[in-house]
Symmetry: C2
Subunit: 344 residues, 2 copies
Amino acid sequence: MKNKRSNRVSLKDVANRAGVSKTLVSAVLNGKAKQYRISDKTALLVLQTAKEMQYSPNMIARGLRTGKAELIGLIVTDISNPFYSTISRIIENKTSELNYKVIFGSSDENLSKTEELIDIMLNKGVDGLIIVPCEGSQKLIEKLHNNNVPVVLLDRYFPELNVSYSCLNNYNATKLATLHLIEQGYKNISLIAYNSELSNIKDRISGYQETMMKNSLETSIHVKSVDINNPTPEIEKALDYLITKKNTEAIIFITNALLVAGLRSLNKMNKVIPQDVAVVGFYGSELFDLFYSPITYIKQPIEVITEKAVKMLIDKINKGENFKFSKSFIEPELIIQDSSIRPK
Amino acid sequence: MKNKRSNRVSLKDVANRAGVSKTLVSAVLNGKAKQYRISDKTALLVLQTAKEMQYSPNMIARGLRTGKAELIGLIVTDISNPFYSTISRIIENKTSELNYKVIFGSSDENLSKTEELIDIMLNKGVDGLIIVPCEGSQKLIEKLHNNNVPVVLLDRYFPELNVSYSCLNNYNATKLATLHLIEQGYKNISLIAYNSELSNIKDRISGYQETMMKNSLETSIHVKSVDINNPTPEIEKALDYLITKKNTEAIIFITNALLVAGLRSLNKMNKVIPQDVAVVGFYGSELFDLFYSPITYIKQPIEVITEKAVKMLIDKINKGENFKFSKSFIEPELIIQDSSIRPK
DNA sequence: CTGAAAGCGCTTACAG
DNA sequence: CTGAAAGCGCTTACAG
């Protein structure tokens, strides 16, 4: 009793009751009865005793022995952000089919938090990591990858790294949005963005930029160093300038937070969508449909993006060294609603 | 090399390099140098070598030995629901201060899924569980509790069970909402709910019911067996009936999903809030503020509710048998906005 | 067909 | 002050 940590039944308990060795019990319960040519009688006995005793294996012990914890680590920027909580749910669903559990952590776009989370998760024995990398984390990810830790990037990637990833095709996303607005007859189209080295942001900006240029239109990009937690004041100033001074007719907001701040500001300024200005956003929410002018938005096939990432990770875990670098860009869809339709 | 599972540095590696025993390294690294009267010189040597080698302990091994995994399991109904993802984030923050990690799972209000999740989490060695219990899970929770597994309920509770919990005071929530509407001069106040044995739902219904009765007003409760995934059609019918046949002047929606469906329906019916009907909801979102008539809602102090639950759980884990049953009802707040102000 | 033994990486009495 | 040994609950060569 001295070293018995819990009252759960162990392999030994089952072996004792069944009158066989632990080896046998382990083999049978792992479905290796045939492989080890264990007699049907013994196998059945073991199976029954295990069931009677409601035995279930201690995964910690198994994990220590096999080096596989059947656990994966998920690092997002903020689990309470609907985009990432949706991703978390999909990861949960996909991995649970494969008997993996997920531990998660939020980095808040912070490098040292990311580092800390990775450390802790590795110590917890995760078999691999799915990471939404924050700005400046390239070296960290590279090191991880070089240490042979299975890792897959989600939502953002590092072009210089041979680390697998699954992302939205962000370039095409803003291209799609821009083309749509051009087709509607808009010429003065502005982009509200913020300053970032992250691939998703950079790609969104260049998708807009290049599409405008190809159509011989002047670009108007408002890259602001907004306070992510309170972007409204900055956005309000920018919008006021764009609409009153620059005759902007249509605006693309490249993140959800920017869109929300934008809608708030436009309401405050008494600008009517799309009469005064057309609007396109990123990533929808059913709540936007309740807005007086339902918002046109870029739809991310989150499910597909996430499933790919999970598949890559599991493959990598299973194949180890033999796994080869894999990347995937998922195509966006433009959901056209009232907010971007040019009034006649 | 044969049994070396990874290239991470182990206690043994540090001990070898420092030329001391594993015991010593373990003691020093766990801050027990003083306790074991280890010489400052040795302690320093160990500390430095460990740092040089970037040693970090394998928590799986430690967990197996100590029986503590520093891991807690969180079971919500759906992690992608903003309410629960917010809860998850708070739990993450609170537990990480205490060096715990969280594994999560979504039950989808499903008993057998809940059961399965609990099993898996126990096998993963969690030290305790925070559970949002689904309907019919009382026996399951009771069994868990009787097996001495530290468990705390969140958001919902079982009055007959001595299992600790932290919940909103749901009774007072609808009481508050009802009183507010009465003060505004409304008399025909309806409640949109659904059928459930869950404490939170039952309490919300009775809070409304009793408040109406105390004020000698007739109750009008629409308890529908709505399809949670697509409540709109059912809600639309109910609203049409209430407003046109029953002269309902104000409506309380007791969940967020019902509110969203309700707003959609009212839009469709061209009913204007609050001119045609006043509305109060549960749980806000910044997106509701973009609605033409910002919605009055019950604010749940999610942070407080969740922190209490975490505290209870950690206390229970630490105190074991000596922990006594603890419950907490957190008081709601009514955020009054345009949707429930009676037009003059 | 079956079992004894080693070992995963720790911690913890215990002995000296 | 320090180290050898046992043991957490498994799996996996290995021997017979």
